[in-house]
């Protein structure tokens, strides 16, 4: 266990699905306590990068160092035990389980009642609405509440770092604001966050550093406050017309 150096360092990651190569040598770094935004259009390899990092797919080449130790090629549950959790895209909760069961599942690796209870209380403090609905089946929740369940489930094992795949996707603007505020609060409490986003402006406002991925490699990187004014970021991200660009940003 090292306490200095970056929390997560990905070096020249190559990988994909079957014989289709998606990542062509992507490298990035997430420092402790930071929110880092990973931006990019559809099909550029954002989600693939997260899946390779969380162990859902095995990277072909390259290295992933988390908290000073190599984690590439490990099983996803082992990576969760090391303290790195991914929250997937698409608000995938277990519809047949209650909100609280969904959250408890996130503490599967904890195996300690008192610790689980504390983690549960902390998640409820971040998302008070989940406490009200804790006996409700998650299949009956709204999209925003489902996203809260998914993020909450990710926090239940008290990880060192959490990776969020498009937390704002398909949500109403007020809900997006609420979720982003909570992510900010979670980071204030010491969490490190890597966030994949389509909502470029919001992500860069929240993050301290940003990466733009294109064709499976990091295309642009820099401090978030600089990137937010960088026309190249907008162009490389959208690649579309001015009107389209204005609409998105």
């Amino acid at each position: 266990m090292t306490t200095s150096g970056p929390m997560l360092e990905i070096k020249d990651l190559v990988g994909g699905y079957g014989s289709v190569q998606i990542l062509n040598g992507a490298s990035l770094k997430v420092d402790r306590g930071q929110i880092v935004a990973l931006l990019g259009g559809n099909g550029t390899g954002k989600s693939t990068l997260l899946k390779a990092t969380s162990g859902l797919i095995k990277p072909w080449r390259g290295a992933i160092v988390f908290d000073g130790e190599r984690i590439d090629g490990l099983r996803p549950d082992t990576i969760v035990r090391r303290g790195l959790v991914q929250v997937t895209q698409g608000k995938e909760a277990f519809p047949g389980m209650t909100v609280e069961e969904n959250l408890r599942l996130g503490a599967y690796v904890v195996g300690d009642r008192a610790k689980t209870a504390r983690a549960l209380e902390r998640v409820y403090s971040y998302f008070p609405v989940l406490k009200e609905k804790r006996q409700q089946l998650s299949g009956t929740l709204s999209g925003g509440q489902l996203q809260m369940v998914c993020i909450g489930r990710g926090l239940m094992s008290s990880p060192k770092m959490i990776m969020l795949d498009e937390p704002s996707a398909a949500l109403a603007p007020q809900i997006v604001m609420e979720i982003f505020r909570t992510i900010h609060r979670i980071t204030k409490d010491g969490m490190t966050v890597l966030m994949v986003e389509q909502n470029v402006r919001m992500a860069l406002l929240l993050a301290s550093y940003g990466y733009v991925i294109k064709d499976g490699v990091i295309h642009i990187e820099g401090p978030a406050d600089k990137m937010i004014h960088d026309d190249n970021v907008r162009l490389s991200y959208l690649g579309g017309t001015v009107a389209n660009r204005e609409a998105r940003l």
């Binding site: 099983r75 996803p76 549950d77 035990r81 991914q86 997937t88 277990f94 519809p95 489930r153």
Partner: protein
């Protein structure tokens, strides 16, 4: 030599309720109640096998065609333990259940894992899995044949006198089946609903990626699901054995009935498997008693067709899982 439990159940020698010259007293109503009770107890056995099939389907995304043979192996292990160790019935049942569970885990790890890890359901590997299941069924029958031979064995358990309830005399062997099966189902329900293991199993059954990302050891859970399913199958085999013979071919008939039960109840649904099992058992028993015992195997499938005409997903079934 009968392949189905119900024919043995309805033969006069195997049914103490009709013994000792009391036949004159038996009215139509009593006969009906008797048949329902027989149907429920045999239905419990179908339900246990169907539960295993449904568990494996929801957890591993495969339809396990060798599950009848797991039931047969379980019955033989129970019989062997009963004969060789002289232990009472309950420890024999528990030991057979545990041993068969581990045999199931071994089969899954050594033979099925390679295919299921490539994906189940409607994928090419899923099709391969169907064929491997049939192959495993033949292999297990032949292994059982080599060990125990082709003869049907009786499994005589002294259950004591029939339980007298009003005008009825319930044979204890049937009471045992119902009570034991109910206890097993209750335990399964408690494990699935109240423990972390159960939560993890349900998670794996619903979405393996999310289960993985929640920190669940998915390969281990898949073994656990398969082991539990095989343990339930073995319990069914040991429970039916005292009112039937133990023989190499006993798995085929039960597998078909259990499939009918699982489909009637809704494939993949655990409450559906139990409901379907009981419905198939009672339908079969009433049909054999009131219409004709000769065609007893037909009734389950008439029920199946009727249910599917009204509700194609089965009584408690949800819309079929869609897989790409």
């Amino acid at each position: 030599m009968s392949a189905s439990p119900i024919s043995a159940a309805l033969s006069p020698t195997a049914k103490p309720g009709f013994e000792s010259g009391s036949f004159e007293r038996v009215t139509h109503v009593d006969f009906f109640i008797d048949l329902v009770i027989i149907g429920l107890s045999v239905g419990m056995v179908y339900a246990l096998v169907a539960l295993g099939i449904s568990l494996i389907y929801s957890g591993l995304d495969i339809v396990h065609f060798a599950h009848g043979e797991i039931y047969m192996i379980g019955a033989f292990i129970g019989l062997t333990l009963f004969q060789k160790t002289g232990l009472p019935y309950v420890p024999v049942l528990l030991l057979a259940v545990i041993l068969t569970g581990f045999i199931g885990i071994l089969i899954e790890r050594v033979f099925y894992r390679r295919l299921t890890s490539q994906g189940g359901g409607y994928t090419v590997a899923g099709m391969g899995m169907v064929i491997v299941g049939f192959g495993m069924s033949i292999v297990l029958q032949n292994v059982a044949f080599l060990i125990w031979g082709p003869k049907p064995f009786p499994f005589p358990v002294p259950f004591g006198r029939p339980l007298e309830v009003g005008n009825l005399a319930l044979p204890m062997s049937y009471v045992w089946i119902v009570v034991t099966a109910l206890v097993l189902m209750l335990v399964l329900n408690l494990v699935l609903k109240k423990t972390m293991l159960g939560l993890a199993i349900r998670a794996v059954a619903h979405n393996k990626d999310i289960a993985y990302l929640s920190g669940v050891n998915v390969p281990l859970m898949i073994s656990a699901i398969f082991g539990i399913a095989c343990a339930l199958g073995a319990a069914a085999g040991v429970l039916i054995a005292p009112i039937n013979y133990v023989q190499v071919q006993m798995g085929i008939g039960v597998l078909i009935k259990a499939f009918a039960a699982a489909i009637v109840g809704g494939f993949g649904s655990l409450p559906g498997a139990v409901l379907g099992g009981l419905m198939v058992g009672v339908t079969e028993s009433l049909g054999a008693g009131f219409i004709s015992g000769t065609y007893k195997d037909i009734y389950a499938f008439i029920l199946l067709i009727l249910v599917l005409m009204v509700k194609p997903s089965g009584i408690l079934g949800v819309a079929a899982k869609v897989k790409a």
